[in-house]
């Protein structure tokens, strides 16, 4: 069984965001980069299939040279090999552009399952994985919090507003992983893992290698773009209530009722 994990490198969630001088993106000058947390859940799920079914786990990422580091992290966790699509022509791609590149890369690989994060915590678009499923013509099982694979089928559980749903699709299928850290508890890269990762195959590809024309992706092909970016209005630290417990409880009730009118 072949499992391909689509993995994106994103800014550390601790990052305090600053807007770049261009006014359309963030200042990346002193950012620490990490593996997108949801993609880490996807890697963990893939590695469990590697253990139980001998699945071959390949990491596929599109991004600049620095994304090699994120792939190496996944290899150190236990993935078998990595592919980075690094081409300056992909810069400025919208979600569809990114999905086209990833779908083209998948076409050149063998897979039974494609695993993604449910969203990348940088642009929070929540669409690249789903678009890859559409472009590849395979089912998408979204926001999985559990997965079982048997008899050529994948079965997941997912939360739906106010309910839990169990879905099943025939493979090949694409699964996006949701839940929380506590659900997947992704393993850490061990020291021997990090040593081994250095010797694992990591291929770099360009658009030409994938047969994708640069006109199909990048800023000029994007259907949608960011025109300006700003920081949210700083919330003003409000009132800290005074008095003993009884007084504070009374005052809070009054404020919520009379001033905020929310209770």
């Amino acid at each position: 069984m072949d499992v391909i994990v689509l993995l994106k490198q994103v800014p550390d969630t601790e990052t305090k965001i600053k807007i770049d001088a261009d006014g359309k993106s963030i200042d990346t000058s002193d950012i620490k980069w990490i593996v997108n947390p949801y993609d880490e859940y996807a890697v963990e799920a893939a590695l469990r299939l590697q253990e139980s079914d001998g699945a071959m786990v390949t990491i596929l990422s599109m991004g600049p040279e620095r994304a090699v580091e994120a792939i190496r992290t996944a290899l150190a966790m236990g993935a078998d090999k990595g592919v980075l699509v690094d081409d300056p022509a992909t810069e400025g791609s919208d979600a569809l552009g990114k999905a086209k590149v990833l779908a083209a890369a998948l076409r050149s690989m063998d897979f039974d399952l494609v695993f993604c994060g449910h969203r990348a915590v940088d642009d929070d678009e929540n669409q690249v994985g789903i678009m890859v499923a559409e472009l590849t013509g395979i089912p998408h099982l979204g926001m999985a919090v559990s997965i079982e694979v048997a008899d050529g089928k994948a079965r997941i559980e997912r939360p739906l507003e106010g309910a839990k749903v169990t879905l099943e699709a025939t493979m090949p299928a694409l699964v996006t992983f949701g839940g929380a850290h506590a659900v997947w508890n992704p393993r850490y890269a061990s020291l021997p893992g990090i040593m081994k990762a250095k010797k694992k195959p990591l291929e770099q590809k360009t658009l030409a290698d994938l047969g994708v024309s640069p006109d199909e992706v990048g800023a000029q092909a994007a259907k949608m773009q960011v025109t300006s970016m700003g920081l949210p209005k700083e919330r003003q630290a409000g009132r800290v209530l005074e008095g003993d417990t009884d007084e504070k409880a009374k005052e809070l009730t009054r404020l919520l009722h009379e001033e905020a009118k929310v209770i």
């Binding site: 507003e161 929380a180 949608m224 700003g230 920081l231 949210p232 409000g238 209770i263």
Partner: protein
């Protein structure tokens, strides 16, 4: 030529989900500015009966496919129908729900139609005859305005639940219905094995008006009973910090933050939560924020409208009594 706005509704268990009315209301406003009709697509099993009600929110015409096979959302059935409808009605702008199923549907549609899609928008406007959308990025640590390229069709956006103002419905107004029968693919569909409702009909955090969240300061799962009680009194639901979820005190679906749910309730009460950057990212857009924390230096206080520095185990029981008294008098 493409004109007007089309909303793709979400119908489940015999009723439209509230977010459908929110996007219809928002769609009405945009259609008035654009100067075109407001149309809707309604797919589902038994949706015909309620489809005319969309008129109450300003929808002029609803394109309906009503079929038992459409009981649950599935890309294999919904996407081809919706894509075909959009190609024939040619709206300029398409709005859909930023819900679990709505996100799947809209991303698939955008890929199929080669369209640009702005997800989880919190504000929409018309600029120079085209859509402009504001959407949070980095879990709300940044806000971006997006626009569509010249000639890009359709301009697609999903709206976050609970954000767009919902018009009070004009129940006298009914929308015109156009029913279509389509041949649905019957085999090799994603199988919906089962659907289990949350016990007690727990509201989803993304759709709740009031959220009472607990963190590590709650000390253990048993103490969340106090938060449940408060949330029930306020008609809300309980959330949690990652620490509380990691400790196994609360289910993962309760986690609020950058790697949990991003929420926008009217009232957010954080109890025993320090206010780490990843938590703040998920709840800073709440209208009113209250924090209860014994540490006056806790970062959460920089975001609160009303801060209570106190031991939560002392404060909460007294506060719950106060709320009960208020509720019994009004």
């Amino acid at each position: 030529m493409a004109e007007g706005v089309c909303v793709i509704t979400e119908f489940r268990d015999g009723a439209f989900r509230r977010v459908s009315f929110e996007i219809a209301s928002e769609g009405r406003r945009l259609a008035d500015e654009l100067g075109g009709p407001l149309l809707a697509i309604a797919l589902g099993d038994g949706v015909t009966e309620v489809a005319p009600d969309l008129g109450g929110y300003g929808v002029e015409k609803v394109y309906v496919v009503d079929d038992p096979l459409l009981k649950d959302y599935r890309a294999e059935t919904y996407v081809p129908i919706a894509a075909e409808m959009l190609e024939s009605i040619e709206p300029k702008v398409v709005l859909s729900a930023g819900s679990v199923d709505g996100k799947d549907l809209s991303a698939r549609l955008a890929a199929r139609l080669e369209a640009g899609l702005a997800t989880d928008c919190t504000e929409l406007k018309i600029e120079g005859g085209a859509l402009a959308a504001k959407r949070p990025m980095y879990a709300g640590k940044a806000l971006a305005w997006c626009s569509w390229s010249e000639g890009a069709w359709p301009q697609m956006a999903t709206c976050r639940p609970n954000v767009m103002d919902c018009l009070p419905p004009d129940t006298a107004k009914k929308a015109e219905i156009e029913k279509t029968n389509v041949a649905l693919p019957g085999s090799n569909l994603t199988l919906v094995v089962k659907t289990e409702k949350e016990v007690g009909g727990k509201l989803d955090l993304t759709e709740a008006e009031t959220i009472v969240s607990g963190g590590r300061g709650m000390k253990g799962p048993e103490n969340f009973a106090m938060l449940e009680e408060l949330a029930t009194l306020l008609g809300g639901t309980v959330g949690a910090s990652r620490s509380a979820v990691d400790s196994g005190w609360r289910p993962h679906a309760d986690q609020v933050g950058q790697t949990g749910k991003v929420v926008t309730p009217t009232l957010y009460i954080a109890v025993g939560i320090s206010g780490a950057i990843q938590h703040l990212a998920g709840m800073s857009s709440s209208k009113y924020i209250v924090a209860v924390n014994k540490d006056p230096e806790a970062p959460i206080f920089s975001k609160t409208d009303y801060g209570v520095v106190d031991d939560l185990f002392r404060f909460l029981p007294v506060f719950i009594e106060e709320v009960k008294t208020l509720k019994s008098t009004c």
